[in-house]
């Protein structure tokens, strides 16, 4: 499918494609009510309540006024609908603002000012500096004579650096005035959401240019929501408009995530529903039997001899209505309310503000805070998540000479400085490649200082380092690069750029030295993407060793290489490259193939080593969270050695003898299978030992394992607390999350870059680090934090509290609903099983919505343990994991309590108010106030810390109950008239209340006390320790000893890789029955990497021992 866009053709495209009206709205004014209602009623709970409310409209069966269900139902619906409407209204406002923005568009050859929403496909749109791009445009002209413009794409992909965009070659040099009259056709794909690809062609009509197709790439476009920067003006042809732009297409409503707590609440609701049905059936039958045997004798009831056909149903339906309060109607609203408060607490938290950038943490998803407290697996990215993603050039190896090994900083290495100043050709070439082989744009400020705009942090580090070594990349003027070396300017012309892709793992530029006309290919890339292409005869051993050594120190390595090209070789290749560049299908693959033809016989110049420092507090955070029983998996695109180093330095894995690394590798299905089996066996054997066993797998083996040994791999995933997955692709990251989720583990994925987005969306909880790789991950995530170390607080403090609070709140909600329902059921046994409601409509309505909701809502302030204690004893998170505070057995406790309390209230009420006092309204109010009193004390006994607000809510609510009922008792028309005054005047009323409270709470208190003192949970013990003050002093000893971070985190201080050997030993012992020291050559271990570099390195390590 293709789309043909005719430039400046006003008639043609207008009908075919949508206009540029952006709409993010979910509703319109007309469909709001039906659509919103439909959405709300697609929830089972709401359907249920609606059914109940409708049944209540039938006076024959309703025990109470229909208002008692309709009122709360309408209230709850109104709250949800208002929230939706408000959100939608804000979306509408922002849409409107974008749609009505004025832009300059060419119409009938004249530039006109129109609203952005009126742009049509094919229109030529003019933009000035700092304006927002209104739709997807193909550039046709800019103010820059070289046809370049700069855009900021932060809103699109979150990357904050400037990107260069160029006009297609066909449009180059067209006069400013002529752009208005330009005609032509752009052949482009139908709209999609890929913001990195735009494979299209442009053909201009005469008189502009020859009939040639001119290929277009994403580089020739500027996309909606980007900003134009550093460019006076541009003009472009609208190709995609409105909701069909790349941004519009990628917009989507993500699947709402359901927390484990929500799932459990749904399950419990289902169980209660079943229970309710059983009760209804039993009571219904009993009621009908009573009616047929007893009621006929009760002449005053005057049952007709023959009832209507539905007579048998009447009593069961009455009980259904009576029992409908068993499922608390208010629970959803309560939960929504507290959940948004949990989210606010995260947003507000001062201790989770990144001080460097002063970005606070943010909870985008307000509904899943409880899940944070239940995390069992954390899958983390490495670069930018564990590390700072600030790249610093540390060491290099040029022509076999290592620089920077002594001082840890090559830029200060005297030898290197000397080599630079003496003009050693190797070094000069090396620096030239460092300075030129990149896509960096130097930007000169007014003061003359040069700053660099780079897309990759590595390139930035390299160019900066080259500049420090006197090879300053000063200017990029279209295709001319200027380098200032030792005060002399050298100019190069860039002929082609062979871009970096993650498959190729290298990038190259073809440059022409402007002085002597020589053409060079300059390449840089991963070692395995460069070293195999070294020219025959070059000794690559030192470079391999350098790479090995550097990556053992946790440094990122890049190999630099070059080759002089023959004039005609380049010319031939250049043609192929152009052709590949204009293909529409599989362009990327074709390009890679063509690039391959040039990138061979390279002369390797050296290896650079760039340090990416660990973020502050990463080792402690990981250690604390591991103590909390959370398993860590590191998923990185980086090399195995680098990953292992970083893992060691941040406590991810422990060095020998505590830790053991098991390697899964292999190139073929068989190899991987065998390796996997062996690791699995070892893992099973060592689970009983107190040892940190981790497995390491690379992307290739993972691919095979996931495809052919999914079962075995899943077993392994369950067994291992730690895993390192190297060289994995974004989709593999997501697959790993999927595997853990399928085993019913709660997973949290944390990452910072675009490559983590899929994993973040897949995981139960996605956390994004709003870091240097842009905001892409943070946008897709449920939570965004500034630094990895905030994860500790997010999980242990916010997650844990949220879970505890919700666990209490939801169970309490069921408890209070069951309580009043049980009383109704008991009452039905003394009212001839006829379905009379003991309580009046007002009380029933206010009970659920008002009397019992407010005290429990303040439980969002409850803290069972102080933050400090939790941080000291992260193991306490165990109680949150796997739902240990909210599950059928804890719920059974609450169920039992409500049954017990119902019996207490009912029995005491009917005995204390027997005979002459057994007036209906009075007994009803006695029972109700008994419930309210018990509620207050139940909340009190379950609250761990009382703030002013809690006291206010609990006791204030009790007072409010009386005030409200006094007010109602003062209204002659109400059924309650004078009742409450009469009751409050009777001493026996207060004595009864007192009795209910003590009978109800006494056993609860006694059991709680007994458990608390003689069978304390860990939480109880810590509470006691924390609050009694005494033994807490001794707790200090147990506190994790603050590790001397310097020692572990800065592997750079270790100069010789030999020192690290003990760390590598575990790798060799991954065969359970092997005696590690005895083997001599790597070949005996078939599960060793077949890749020569790795195996040689391991055998070398071994020999060094």
């Amino acid at each position: 499918m293709k789309r043909y866009v005719y430039i400046n053709d006003d008639e043609l495209s207008q009908e075919l494609y949508c206009d540029n009206r952006i709409s993010n709205r979910k509703y319109t004014l007309l469909n709001f009510l039906p659509k919103n209602l439909w959405e709300q009623f697609s929830r089972f709970m709401n359907q249920y309540f609606l059914l109940i409310a409708c049944l209540q409209l039938w006076p024959l069966i309703t025990p109470v006024n229909p208002a008692s269900t309709w009122g709360p139902l309408i209230f709850i619906f109104a709250v949800s609908a208002t929230k939706e409407a408000w959100d939608d209204y804000n979306r509408y406002l922002s849409d409107k603002k974008a749609n009505e923005k004025e832009v300059w568009v060419v119409r009938q050859g004249i530039k006109k000012h129109i609203q952005a929403q009126d742009i049509c496909v094919g229109n030529v749109v003019w933009l000035r500096e700092n304006e927002e791009v209104p739709c997807d445009l193909v550039l046709i002209g800019t103010s820059d004579p070289q046809g370049v413009c700069y855009v900021e794409t932060a809103a699109l992909d979150g990357e904050t650096d400037l990107k260069t965009r160029v006009i297609p070659s066909a449009c180059m040099g067209i006069d400013f005035e002529l752009l208005h009259k330009m005609k032509g056709v752009i052949e482009c794909p139908i709209p999609d959401k890929d913001i990195r690809r735009f494979d299209a062609n442009l053909r201009l009509f005469p008189p502009f240019i020859d009939n040639d197709f001119c290929p277009l790439t994403i580089k020739n476009t500027i996309l909606q929501s980007c900003y134009l920067r550093n460019t006076e003006w541009v003009c472009g042809v609208a190709v995609y408009t409105g909701n069909e732009t790349k941004l519009g297409m990628s917009r989507g409503i993500p699947e709402p995530k359901l927390t484990a707590v929500d799932a459990m609440i749904d399950k419990l609701t289902g169980a209660i529903f079943v229970f309710q049905i059983v009760v209804v059936i039993v009571l219904g039958i009993a009621g009908n039997v009573w009616k047929d045997t007893e009621a006929v004798k009760q002449w005053y009831v005057l049952y007709p001899k023959k009832g209507p056909w539905y007579e048998l149903l009447v009593i069961p339906l009455r009980f259904e209505l009576l029992c409908s309060i068993m499922i608390p109607i208010s629970i959803k609203v309560s939960l929504d309310l507290v959940k948004s408060l949990y989210a606010k607490f995260i947003d507000w938290d001062n201790q989770m503000i990144d001080q460097e950038t002063s970005t606070p943490s943010h909870a985008t998803n307000t509904a899943i805070s409880e899940d944070l407290g239940q995390v069992e697996y954390i899958l983390t990215d490495k670069t930018g998540t564990l590390t700072e993603n600030i790249m610093i050039f540390r060491r290099c190896c040029i022509g076999g000479i290592f620089y920077g090994n002594e001082s840890g900083d090559a830029l200060k290495d005297v030898e290197l400085l000397n080599a630079v100043s003496s003009g050693s050709p190797d070094v000069i070439q090396f620096l030239t490649v460092m300075a030129l082989c990149n896509t960096v744009i130097p930007v000169k400020s007014k003061t003359g200082a040069i700053s660099y705009k780079a897309q990759s942090q590595d390139e930035d580090a390299l160019v900066q380092a080259a500049a420090r070594l006197h090879m300053v990349f000063v200017n990029k003027n279209a295709n001319t690069l200027e380098i200032n070396f030792n005060a002399s300017i050298i100019q190069y012309e860039v002929l082609d750029t062979l871009e970096f892709t993650s498959d190729r793992k290298r990038m190259s530029v073809v440059v022409k030295d402007c002085q002597n006309g020589k053409i060079f290919l300059l390449s840089k890339g991963a070692d395995e993407a460069i070293i195999p292409y070294a020219c025959a005869g070059q000794q690559t051993r030192t470079f391999t060793e350098a790479v090995e050594q550097y990556s053992q120190l946790g440094l990122r390595t890049l190999c630099l290489a070059w080759r002089e090209l023959k004039e005609d070789e380049y010319r031939d290749w250049s043609l192929m490259f152009k052709e590949a560049n204009s293909t529409l299908v599989d362009r990327e693959w074709r390009l890679a193939e063509v690039c391959q033809r040039l990138e061979h016989d390279l002369e390797i110049l050296g290896v650079t080593a760039i340090e990416d420092r660990l973020q502050d507090g990463v080792p402690e955070t990981i250690e604390t969270l591991r103590k909390a029983g959370i398993n860590f998996w590191m998923l990185t695109g980086d090399k195995q050695n680098t990953a292992i180093q970083i893992a060691l330095s941040c406590n991810f894995i422990s060095p020998e003898p505590k830790g053991q690394l098991l390697l899964i590798n292999g190139k073929t299905e068989d190899e991987v299978g065998r390796s996997l089996d062996r690791v699995l066996l070892t893992m099973r054997i060592t689970t009983s030992e107190p040892k940190d066993v981790a497995f390491v797998i690379d992307g290739w083996a993972l691919e095979i394992a996931l495809k052919h040994y999914r079962k075995a791999f899943t077993d392994l995933a369950i067994l291992s607390r730690t895993a390192l997955c190297c060289r994995v692709t974004p989709s593999q990251k997501a697959q790993l999350v999927e595997i853990l989720k399928s085993c019913d583990y709660r997973t949290l994925a944390i990452g910072d870059g675009g490559n983590d987005v899929r994993m973040i969306q897949q995981a139960d909880i996605g956390v994004g680090i709003s870091g240097r790789e842009g905001l892409q991950a943070a946008r897709a995530a449920d939570y965004s934090i500034g630094k990895f170390r905030f994860l500790k607080r997010l999980i242990l403090v916010h997650g844990r509290y949220s879970y505890n609070r919700t666990a209490f709140l939801s169970q309490y909600s069921f408890y209070k609903s069951l309580l009043i329902c049980f009383i109704q059921i008991f009452f039905s046994f003394i009212s001839g099983v006829s379905g009379t409601s003991l309580f009046n409509s007002v009380s029933l309505m206010a009970y659920n919505v008002f009397y019992t909701s407010i005290p429990v809502l303040v439980s969002v302030l409850d803290k069972d343990l102080s933050e400090k204690t939790v941080m000291q004893h992260p193991q306490i998170l165990f109680y949150c994991q796997a739902g240990r505070l909210l599950n059928p057995s804890t719920f059974a406790g609450w169920f039992g309590r409500s049954l017990f309390h119902a019996i207490v209230v009912f029995v005491i009420s009917i005995h204390a108010y027997a005979y002459e006092k057994s007036e209906m309204e009075e007994v009803s109010m006695v029972a109700l106030s008994g419930c309210i009193w018990l509620q207050a004390f139940v909340v009190t006994i379950e609250t761990n810390s009382f703030t002013v607000l809690q006291h206010l809510a609990i006791w204030g609510n009790l007072a409010a109950f009386y005030i409200i009922n006094w007010i109602l008792s003062a209204v002659p028309a109400s059924g309650l008239y004078t009742i409450m005054f009469r009751l409050c005047k009777q001493p026996s009323y207060w004595i009864t209340m007192f009795l209910i409270v003590v009978t109800g709470m006494g056993p609860v208190l006694a059991i709680k006390y007994f458990r608390y003192t003689y069978r304390p949970s860990k939480i109880n013990t810590l509470q006691q320790a924390e609050r009694l003050g005494g033994p807490i002093l001794s707790l200090g000893n147990i506190e994790p000893q603050p590790r001397s971070i310097e020692k572990d985190v800065s592997p750079l201080s270790i100069t010789l890789p030999k020192n690290r050997n003990p760390v590598y030993e575990p790798l060799l012992s991954d065969s359970p029955n092997s005696t590690r020291k005895s083997f001599g050559s790597a070949t005996t271990f078939d599960f060793f990497p077949s890749q020569s570099r790795l195996s040689s390195s391991y055998s070398r390590n071994c020999k060094d021992n």
């Binding site: 049952y303 379905g835 108010y913 002013v948 709680k1008 608390y1012 860990k1018």
Partner: protein
């Protein structure tokens, strides 16, 4: 009565103090407040043996006297209960100070039956204007010629209609019907302009008839009857005897037995009773209080004994299993 409520222990000032100043410098965005930081000062009581034991003792000490007082009050009430036959003669066991309340007690009578409780129209009772508001009164709503029954519904229709005549030594004792109905009912629930109409005029006669010249607000028996009882055994006030009855007085009651309780096997009883501060004779509260107080003391003592015999230091960190197992491979139980 909350054992936790008062015991504010060390936690109150916890947390909020130290890093606050340091944070304030940077916190441009989220405003610092104790609420937003979840650092509101809180009292964090825990269940220490001291608190729990003393609260149980406290309950015991408070409950037993209250129970005794209630029981004593209940014992002082003189109550005579008699099954109703035609004429009863009995001795007053103790002196009964006036007013002596006369109740009729019905057993196994479901005034709380759903069909029954719904059988009334409060609007109709309240004002003449709503005379035809009988929708909730089915089956006793209208007569066969569709004119409204006032008061409509099953409750009024089944009005109790036994009558009692009391005499001491052949002298008739006056039974006062004054103030036996709630004043609020007479003033606001039963209209003074609403007169009985078409009442008990159908084929089925339920209970008592009403004098159609007396407004509903003065029909005290009806008003009492219409305060439906929540329990199937209930007493309703019939009247008061405004003179003291001395001990051993021979009281003769002549009963006109009209009300049908035979069909459902219910019993009718006549109750004469004085009253006290906790109401009529009801031992339940007293017994419950004494039992509960005793249980509380028993619990308190057992807790105390357990505490003395097997003391358990609170908050001992050695109970944290992960402290016992150094490798970090803790197992919970």
């Amino acid at each position: 009565m909350d054992p936790n409520g008062g015991s504010s222990s060390a936690g109150a000032a916890d947390g909020a103090s130290d890093p606050a100043a340091a944070r304030r410098r940077h916190s441009k965005k989220p405003k610092y407040s104790r609420f937003t930081q979840q650092e509101l000062p809180a009292c964090k009581p825990i269940l220490t043996p001291g608190w729990v034991i003393s609260s149980f003792i406290f309950v015991g000490i408070i409950f037993i006297p209250i129970g005794l007082a209630s029981l004593f009050a209940s014992e002082r009430v003189v109550e005579i209960v008699h099954a109703m036959t035609r004429t009863v003669t009995f001795l007053v066991p103790k002196q009964m100070k006036s007013p002596v309340y006369i109740y009729y007690q019905l057993d196994n009578f479901y005034q709380n039956h759903r069909r029954y409780v719904k059988g009334r129209s409060d609007k109709q009772l309240r004002s003449r204007a709503s005379e035809n508001d009988t929708s909730s009164c089915d089956p006793e709503d209208v007569t066969s010629n569709k004119s409204a029954i006032v008061p409509c519904g099953l409750i009024a229709w089944s009005l109790f209609n036994d009558t009692y005549g009391f005499s001491v030594n052949n002298t008739l004792l006056g039974v006062s019907k004054k103030n036996i109905a709630w004043k609020s009912d007479q003033q606001h629930k039963f209209g003074s302009d609403v007169y009985p109409k078409n009442f008990q005029s159908g084929g089925l006669i339920g209970g008592a008839k009403l004098n159609s010249s007396i407004p509903l607000s003065q029909q005290v028996d009806l008003i009492v009857w219409m305060r439906t009882a929540a329990l199937p055994t209930f007493r309703k006030l019939y009247g008061k005897i405004e003179v003291d009855l001395e001990a051993n007085t021979e009281l003769t009651v002549v009963i006109e037995n009209n009300y049908n309780t035979y069909s459902f096997g219910g019993k009718k009883k006549l109750v004469l009773s004085t009253t006290s501060w906790i109401g009529g004779k009801n031992d339940f509260l007293g017994i419950a209080y004494i039992t509960l107080g005793g249980l509380s003391l028993f619990l308190a003592i057992s807790f105390l004994l357990i505490y003395i015999i097997k003391p358990r230091p609170l908050g001992d960190p050695t109970f944290l299993s992960w402290n016992r197992n150094p490798a970090g491979h803790f197992n919970f139980n």
